[in-house]
Protein backbone atom coordinates (compact mmCIF):
# COMPACT_ATOMS: atom_id res chain seq x y z
CA UNK A 1 0.00 0.00 0.00
CA UNK A 2 2.37 2.67 -1.27
CA UNK A 3 -0.14 5.46 -0.99
CA UNK A 4 -1.25 4.73 2.54
CA UNK A 5 2.30 5.39 3.61
CA UNK A 6 2.19 8.79 1.90
CA UNK A 7 -1.10 9.68 3.56
CA UNK A 8 0.19 8.78 7.01
CA UNK A 9 3.32 10.78 6.34
CA UNK A 10 1.40 13.82 5.08
CA UNK A 11 -0.92 13.75 8.10
CA UNK A 12 1.93 13.67 10.59
CA UNK A 13 3.77 16.34 8.64
CA UNK A 14 0.77 18.67 8.59
CA UNK A 15 -0.37 18.17 12.16
CA UNK A 16 0.38 20.97 14.56
CA UNK A 17 0.78 18.63 17.54
CA UNK A 18 2.05 15.05 17.73
CA UNK A 19 -0.49 12.87 15.95
CA UNK A 20 -1.70 9.78 17.76
CA UNK A 21 -2.24 6.38 16.21
CA UNK A 22 -5.92 6.60 17.15
CA UNK A 23 -6.34 9.82 15.21
CA UNK A 24 -4.56 8.47 12.16
CA UNK A 25 -6.77 5.39 12.17
CA UNK A 26 -9.80 7.62 12.68
CA UNK A 27 -8.98 9.94 9.78
CA UNK A 28 -8.09 7.20 7.36
CA UNK A 29 -11.20 5.34 8.45
CA UNK A 30 -9.50 2.01 8.55
CA UNK A 31 -10.01 -0.74 11.02
CA UNK A 32 -6.68 -2.37 10.31
CA UNK A 33 -4.60 -0.69 13.01
CA UNK A 34 -1.79 -3.13 12.49
CA UNK A 35 -1.22 -1.88 8.93
CA UNK A 36 -0.83 1.67 10.25
CA UNK A 37 1.46 0.55 13.03
CA UNK A 38 3.64 -1.19 10.47
CA UNK A 39 3.78 1.91 8.32
CA UNK A 40 4.73 4.08 11.31
CA UNK A 41 7.52 1.69 12.23
CA UNK A 42 8.78 1.59 8.65
CA UNK A 43 8.74 5.39 8.41
CA UNK A 44 10.56 5.79 11.71
CA UNK A 45 13.21 3.40 10.50
CA UNK A 46 13.48 4.97 7.08
CA UNK A 47 14.13 8.45 8.50
CA UNK A 48 16.54 7.09 11.08
CA UNK A 49 18.57 5.30 8.41
CA UNK A 50 18.50 8.22 6.04
CA UNK A 51 19.89 10.41 8.84
CA UNK A 52 18.81 13.65 7.21
CA UNK A 53 17.92 16.97 8.82
CA UNK A 54 14.88 15.66 10.63
CA UNK A 55 13.33 12.37 11.61
CA UNK A 56 10.14 10.88 12.94
CA UNK A 57 9.84 10.64 16.74
CA UNK A 58 7.29 9.16 19.04
CA UNK A 59 6.36 11.80 21.59
CA UNK A 60 3.44 12.83 23.85
CA UNK A 61 1.36 9.86 22.78
CA UNK A 62 1.80 10.55 19.09
CA UNK A 63 4.17 10.98 16.17
CA UNK A 64 5.94 14.12 15.05
CA UNK A 65 8.73 15.08 12.67
CA UNK A 66 11.54 16.80 14.54
CA UNK A 67 14.95 18.11 13.58
CA UNK A 68 17.98 16.11 14.59
CA UNK A 69 19.31 17.19 17.99
CA UNK A 70 22.79 17.93 16.61
CA UNK A 71 21.33 20.53 14.27
CA UNK A 72 20.33 22.78 17.16
CA UNK A 73 23.07 25.38 16.75
CA UNK A 74 22.18 25.94 13.08
CA UNK A 75 18.51 26.26 13.82
CA UNK A 76 19.12 28.75 16.57
CA UNK A 77 21.02 30.78 14.03
CA UNK A 78 18.05 30.55 11.68
CA UNK A 79 15.57 31.64 14.32
CA UNK A 80 17.88 34.19 15.80
CA UNK A 81 17.00 33.05 19.28
CA UNK A 82 18.92 32.17 22.34
CA UNK A 83 17.77 28.89 23.81
CA UNK A 84 14.80 29.99 25.90
CA UNK A 85 15.24 27.35 28.55
CA UNK A 86 13.51 27.30 31.89
CA UNK A 87 14.78 28.77 35.12
CA UNK A 88 15.95 26.52 37.91
CA UNK A 89 12.87 27.56 39.91
CA UNK A 90 10.60 26.57 37.02
CA UNK A 91 12.34 23.23 36.51
CA UNK A 92 12.15 22.34 40.20
CA UNK A 93 8.47 23.26 40.36
CA UNK A 94 7.83 21.28 37.22
CA UNK A 95 9.68 18.27 38.63
CA UNK A 96 7.60 18.27 41.81
CA UNK A 97 4.35 18.48 39.83
CA UNK A 98 5.46 15.84 37.33
CA UNK A 99 6.23 13.31 40.05
CA UNK A 100 3.63 14.21 42.65
CA UNK A 101 0.60 15.14 40.58
CA UNK A 102 -2.18 15.85 41.26
CA UNK A 103 -0.58 18.29 43.68
CA UNK A 104 -1.49 21.57 45.42
CA UNK A 105 0.61 24.72 45.61
CA UNK A 106 1.08 24.16 49.32
CA UNK A 107 2.47 20.69 48.71
CA UNK A 108 4.97 22.00 46.16
CA UNK A 109 6.05 24.73 48.53
CA UNK A 110 6.62 22.22 51.29
CA UNK A 111 9.08 20.33 49.10
CA UNK A 112 10.87 23.34 47.64
CA UNK A 113 10.83 25.40 50.82
CA UNK A 114 9.97 28.60 48.94
CA UNK A 115 6.96 30.43 47.56
CA UNK A 116 6.19 28.96 44.12
CA UNK A 117 3.37 31.20 42.92
CA UNK A 118 5.47 33.03 40.34
CA UNK A 119 6.93 29.81 38.95
CA UNK A 120 3.48 28.21 38.86
CA UNK A 121 2.01 31.08 36.94
CA UNK A 122 4.77 31.03 34.38
CA UNK A 123 4.33 27.30 33.84
CA UNK A 124 0.56 27.70 33.47
CA UNK A 125 1.09 30.41 30.89
CA UNK A 126 3.53 28.21 28.99
CA UNK A 127 0.86 25.49 29.13
CA UNK A 128 3.30 23.08 30.71
CA UNK A 129 0.99 22.81 33.72
CA UNK A 130 -2.75 23.08 34.13
CA UNK A 131 -5.31 23.38 36.86
CA UNK A 132 -6.94 20.02 37.32
CA UNK A 133 -9.66 21.00 39.76
CA UNK A 134 -9.78 21.12 43.52
CA UNK A 135 -8.68 18.79 46.23
CA UNK A 136 -11.43 17.61 48.50
CA UNK A 137 -9.86 18.75 51.75
CA UNK A 138 -10.63 21.79 53.93
CA UNK A 139 -9.96 24.96 51.98
CA UNK A 140 -10.41 23.04 48.71
CA UNK A 141 -7.04 24.06 47.26
CA UNK A 142 -6.55 24.01 43.50
CA UNK A 143 -4.64 21.02 42.23
CA UNK A 144 -2.15 21.07 39.38
CA UNK A 145 -0.91 18.53 36.86
CA UNK A 146 1.28 18.41 33.78
CA UNK A 147 -0.09 18.79 30.24
CA UNK A 148 0.41 17.05 26.93
CA UNK A 149 2.47 20.05 25.96
CA UNK A 150 4.82 19.15 28.83
CA UNK A 151 5.38 15.74 27.24
CA UNK A 152 5.87 17.36 23.86
CA UNK A 153 8.40 19.90 25.07
CA UNK A 154 10.35 17.42 27.18
CA UNK A 155 10.39 14.79 24.48
CA UNK A 156 8.50 12.16 26.48
CA UNK A 157 6.23 9.46 25.13
CA UNK A 158 4.36 9.47 28.43
CA UNK A 159 4.95 10.21 32.11
CA UNK A 160 6.09 6.65 32.70
CA UNK A 161 9.15 7.42 30.60
CA UNK A 162 10.48 9.70 33.34
CA UNK A 163 13.12 8.07 35.53
CA UNK A 164 11.75 7.10 38.93
CA UNK A 165 12.53 9.23 41.97
CA UNK A 166 14.26 6.20 43.43
CA UNK A 167 16.86 6.42 40.70
CA UNK A 168 17.66 9.97 41.79
CA UNK A 169 17.81 8.94 45.44
CA UNK A 170 20.31 6.23 44.58
CA UNK A 171 22.46 8.79 42.82
CA UNK A 172 22.90 10.58 46.12
CA UNK A 173 24.14 7.56 48.02
Amino acid sequence: MEDLRSIVEALIFASEAPLSLDKIVDIIGMTDREAIVDILKALEEEYANRNGGFHLSEVAGGYQFRTRADMASWLRKLKGIKPPGLSQAALETLAVVAYRQPVTRQEIEKVRGVDVSGALRGLLEKKLLRMLGRKNVPGKPIIYGTTKRFLEVFNLKDLAELPTLREFQELQE
Binding site: F13, A14, E16, Q64, F65, R66, T67, R68, A69, A72, L75, K79, P83, P84, G85, L86, Q88, A89, L91, E92, L94, A95, V96, A98, Y99, V111, R112, G113, V114, D115, L124, E125, K127, R130, M131, G133, T147, E152, V153, F154, N155, L156, L162, P163, L165, F168, Q169, L171, Q172
Partner: protein, 238 residues
Amino acid sequence: MSYAIKLDIFEGPLDLLLYLIKKNEVDIYNIPIAIITEQYLNHMEIMRSMNLDLAGEYLVLAATLLNIKSKMLLPPEEKEEGEEEQPDPRAELVRQLLEYQTFKEAAFNLGQRTLLERDVFKRGIVPEVKTEPEEELIEVDLFQLVEAFREIVSGLKDEDLMEIDTEKMSLSDRIHEIMERLSVEKSMHFRDLLADVHDRRMIIYTLLAILELMKMRIVKAYQTHAFGPIRIFLAVEE
Protein backbone atom coordinates in the same frame (compact mmCIF):
# COMPACT_ATOMS: atom_id res chain seq x y z
CA MET B 1 32.30 38.83 43.69
CA SER B 2 31.89 35.20 42.74
CA TYR B 3 30.54 34.86 46.25
CA ALA B 4 27.75 37.28 45.47
CA ILE B 5 26.78 35.51 42.28
CA LYS B 6 26.70 32.23 44.12
CA LEU B 7 24.29 33.66 46.69
CA ASP B 8 21.98 34.96 44.07
CA ILE B 9 21.35 31.57 42.57
CA PHE B 10 20.22 29.75 45.69
CA GLU B 11 16.75 28.49 45.07
CA GLY B 12 15.78 28.94 48.69
CA PRO B 13 16.85 28.08 52.22
CA LEU B 14 16.96 24.33 51.58
CA ASP B 15 19.21 24.90 48.59
CA LEU B 16 21.54 27.07 50.69
CA LEU B 17 21.64 24.42 53.40
CA LEU B 18 22.44 21.69 50.89
CA TYR B 19 25.22 23.86 49.52
CA LEU B 20 26.73 24.30 52.99
CA ILE B 21 26.57 20.57 53.67
CA LYS B 22 28.35 19.83 50.41
CA LYS B 23 30.91 22.60 50.92
CA ASN B 24 31.81 21.29 54.37
CA GLU B 25 31.78 17.71 53.12
CA VAL B 26 29.72 16.53 56.05
CA ASP B 27 27.32 13.63 56.29
CA ILE B 28 23.77 14.70 55.61
CA TYR B 29 22.54 12.11 58.14
CA ASN B 30 24.82 13.54 60.82
CA ILE B 31 24.86 17.27 60.26
CA PRO B 32 27.13 19.20 62.64
CA ILE B 33 24.34 21.58 63.51
CA ALA B 34 26.43 24.18 65.35
CA ILE B 35 28.83 24.76 62.45
CA ILE B 36 26.20 24.66 59.75
CA THR B 37 23.88 26.99 61.64
CA GLU B 38 26.65 29.52 62.09
CA GLN B 39 27.52 29.45 58.40
CA TYR B 40 23.86 29.65 57.45
CA LEU B 41 23.40 32.76 59.61
CA ASN B 42 26.55 34.27 58.12
CA HIS B 43 25.18 33.79 54.64
CA MET B 44 21.94 35.43 55.63
CA GLU B 45 23.89 38.35 57.04
CA ILE B 46 25.82 38.76 53.77
CA MET B 47 22.64 38.57 51.75
CA ARG B 48 21.08 41.21 53.94
CA SER B 49 24.09 43.48 53.61
CA MET B 50 23.85 43.19 49.84
CA ASN B 51 20.22 44.23 50.03
CA LEU B 52 19.11 40.97 48.50
CA ASP B 53 15.48 40.34 49.00
CA LEU B 54 15.51 37.95 51.90
CA ALA B 55 12.42 35.83 51.64
CA GLY B 56 10.71 34.97 54.88
CA GLU B 57 11.46 31.31 54.31
CA TYR B 58 15.14 31.93 55.08
CA LEU B 59 14.19 33.23 58.51
CA VAL B 60 11.92 30.28 59.18
CA LEU B 61 14.71 27.82 58.48
CA ALA B 62 17.13 29.87 60.60
CA ALA B 63 14.71 29.55 63.49
CA THR B 64 14.43 25.82 62.89
CA LEU B 65 18.21 25.45 62.91
CA LEU B 66 18.58 27.40 66.13
CA ASN B 67 15.85 25.33 67.71
CA ILE B 68 17.56 22.09 66.74
CA LYS B 69 20.87 23.43 67.98
CA SER B 70 19.47 24.21 71.40
CA LYS B 71 17.85 20.80 71.64
CA MET B 72 21.15 19.12 70.78
CA LEU B 73 22.88 21.06 73.56
CA LEU B 74 20.59 19.65 76.23
CA PRO B 75 22.07 16.69 78.04
CA PRO B 76 20.24 13.51 77.07
CA GLU B 77 17.54 12.82 79.63
CA GLU B 78 17.95 9.94 81.96
CA LYS B 79 16.26 7.08 80.27
CA GLU B 80 13.65 5.42 82.38
CA GLU B 81 12.74 1.83 82.20
CA GLY B 82 10.90 1.01 78.98
CA GLU B 83 11.03 4.58 77.71
CA GLU B 84 11.67 5.00 74.03
CA GLU B 85 14.81 6.59 72.78
CA GLN B 86 14.60 10.32 72.11
CA PRO B 87 14.22 11.00 68.40
CA ASP B 88 17.08 12.88 66.75
CA PRO B 89 16.00 16.54 66.62
CA ARG B 90 17.53 16.72 63.14
CA ALA B 91 15.42 13.89 61.71
CA GLU B 92 12.67 16.02 60.12
CA LEU B 93 15.16 18.45 58.61
CA VAL B 94 17.20 15.59 57.13
CA ARG B 95 14.07 14.11 55.61
CA GLN B 96 13.19 17.48 54.07
CA LEU B 97 16.69 17.97 52.72
CA LEU B 98 16.80 14.53 51.16
CA GLU B 99 13.44 15.05 49.54
CA TYR B 100 14.43 18.43 48.17
CA GLN B 101 17.72 17.01 46.91
CA THR B 102 15.87 14.25 45.09
CA PHE B 103 13.66 16.75 43.28
CA LYS B 104 16.60 19.00 42.55
CA GLU B 105 18.18 16.00 40.87
CA ALA B 106 14.92 15.32 39.00
CA ALA B 107 14.77 18.96 37.89
CA PHE B 108 18.34 18.78 36.63
CA ASN B 109 17.44 15.64 34.71
CA LEU B 110 14.45 17.40 33.14
CA GLY B 111 16.65 20.27 32.05
CA GLN B 112 19.07 17.81 30.44
CA ARG B 113 16.42 16.31 28.21
CA THR B 114 16.14 17.07 24.51
CA LEU B 115 13.94 20.15 24.69
CA LEU B 116 11.63 21.33 21.96
CA GLU B 117 12.58 24.79 20.68
CA ARG B 118 15.97 24.47 22.34
CA ASP B 119 17.47 21.27 20.99
CA VAL B 120 14.95 20.11 18.44
CA PHE B 121 12.43 21.97 16.35
CA LYS B 122 9.24 21.01 14.69
CA ARG B 123 8.10 21.96 11.24
CA GLY B 124 8.05 25.70 10.83
CA ILE B 125 5.18 26.36 8.49
CA VAL B 126 1.66 25.14 8.65
CA PRO B 127 1.00 23.81 5.14
CA GLU B 128 -2.02 25.54 3.73
CA VAL B 129 -5.11 23.50 3.30
CA LYS B 130 -7.88 25.38 1.64
CA THR B 131 -10.67 25.82 4.16
CA GLU B 132 -13.16 28.55 4.71
CA PRO B 133 -11.69 31.36 6.75
CA GLU B 134 -12.56 31.18 10.39
CA GLU B 135 -11.53 32.79 13.61
CA GLU B 136 -8.38 31.50 15.11
CA LEU B 137 -9.22 28.92 17.70
CA ILE B 138 -7.40 28.49 20.93
CA GLU B 139 -7.37 25.51 23.20
CA VAL B 140 -8.55 26.52 26.60
CA ASP B 141 -8.25 25.25 30.09
CA LEU B 142 -9.37 26.51 33.45
CA PHE B 143 -6.38 28.83 33.72
CA GLN B 144 -7.28 30.56 30.44
CA LEU B 145 -10.86 30.93 31.62
CA VAL B 146 -9.96 32.68 34.87
CA GLU B 147 -7.32 34.74 33.10
CA ALA B 148 -9.92 35.92 30.59
CA PHE B 149 -12.31 36.86 33.36
CA ARG B 150 -9.63 38.63 35.36
CA GLU B 151 -8.58 40.65 32.31
CA ILE B 152 -12.12 41.76 31.64
CA VAL B 153 -13.04 42.78 35.15
CA SER B 154 -9.68 44.38 35.87
CA GLY B 155 -10.57 46.94 33.24
CA LEU B 156 -13.72 47.90 35.12
CA LYS B 157 -13.87 50.60 37.71
CA ASP B 158 -16.48 49.00 39.85
CA GLU B 159 -14.72 47.28 42.73
CA ASP B 160 -17.72 45.07 43.37
CA LEU B 161 -17.30 43.41 40.01
CA MET B 162 -13.86 42.18 41.01
CA GLU B 163 -15.29 39.94 43.67
CA ILE B 164 -16.05 36.37 42.92
CA ASP B 165 -18.48 35.07 45.39
CA THR B 166 -17.96 31.37 45.99
CA GLU B 167 -21.27 31.31 47.79
CA LYS B 168 -22.88 32.57 44.64
CA MET B 169 -21.25 29.77 42.69
CA SER B 170 -22.81 27.18 44.97
CA LEU B 171 -26.04 29.06 44.55
CA SER B 172 -25.71 28.85 40.77
CA ASP B 173 -25.20 25.12 41.08
CA ARG B 174 -28.45 24.86 42.98
CA ILE B 175 -30.27 27.11 40.52
CA HIS B 176 -29.14 24.84 37.70
CA GLU B 177 -30.45 21.77 39.44
CA ILE B 178 -33.81 23.37 40.13
CA MET B 179 -34.16 24.63 36.56
CA GLU B 180 -33.23 21.21 35.26
CA ARG B 181 -35.99 19.62 37.29
CA LEU B 182 -38.52 22.31 36.50
CA SER B 183 -37.91 21.99 32.77
CA VAL B 184 -38.95 18.36 33.06
CA GLU B 185 -41.62 18.47 35.74
CA LYS B 186 -42.99 22.00 35.00
CA SER B 187 -44.03 22.42 38.60
CA MET B 188 -43.14 20.87 41.88
CA HIS B 189 -43.58 21.02 45.62
CA PHE B 190 -41.10 23.04 47.51
CA ARG B 191 -40.60 20.27 50.01
CA ASP B 192 -39.76 17.82 47.21
CA LEU B 193 -36.81 20.03 46.45
CA LEU B 194 -35.58 19.50 49.97
CA ALA B 195 -36.51 15.82 50.10
CA ASP B 196 -32.99 14.46 49.75
CA VAL B 197 -31.15 17.45 51.15
CA HIS B 198 -29.66 16.86 54.55
CA ASP B 199 -26.73 19.23 54.52
CA ARG B 200 -27.71 22.46 56.29
CA ARG B 201 -25.80 24.62 53.84
CA MET B 202 -27.55 22.89 50.98
CA ILE B 203 -30.95 23.72 52.52
CA ILE B 204 -29.94 27.36 52.73
CA TYR B 205 -28.68 27.36 49.14
CA THR B 206 -31.95 25.82 48.01
CA LEU B 207 -33.95 28.57 49.73
CA LEU B 208 -31.67 31.26 48.33
CA ALA B 209 -31.88 29.75 44.85
CA ILE B 210 -35.68 29.86 44.92
CA LEU B 211 -35.60 33.45 46.16
CA GLU B 212 -33.13 34.41 43.46
CA LEU B 213 -35.23 32.77 40.77
CA MET B 214 -38.33 34.52 42.09
CA LYS B 215 -36.54 37.83 42.21
CA MET B 216 -35.56 37.41 38.56
CA ARG B 217 -39.12 36.30 37.95
CA ILE B 218 -38.04 33.06 36.35
CA VAL B 219 -40.18 31.06 38.77
CA LYS B 220 -43.31 31.75 40.71
CA ALA B 221 -44.35 30.19 43.95
CA TYR B 222 -47.97 29.56 44.88
CA GLN B 223 -49.62 28.44 48.02
CA THR B 224 -53.26 27.33 47.96
CA HIS B 225 -53.85 28.22 51.58
CA ALA B 226 -51.93 29.44 54.57
CA PHE B 227 -49.46 26.81 55.79
CA GLY B 228 -50.39 24.72 52.74
CA PRO B 229 -47.76 23.20 50.49
CA ILE B 230 -45.84 25.66 48.31
CA ARG B 231 -45.72 24.84 44.60
CA ILE B 232 -43.13 26.25 42.27
CA PHE B 233 -43.77 27.01 38.58
CA LEU B 234 -41.75 28.33 35.72
CA ALA B 235 -42.91 31.94 35.37
CA VAL B 236 -42.43 32.10 31.63
CA GLU B 237 -42.68 29.23 29.24
CA GLU B 238 -39.64 28.94 27.01
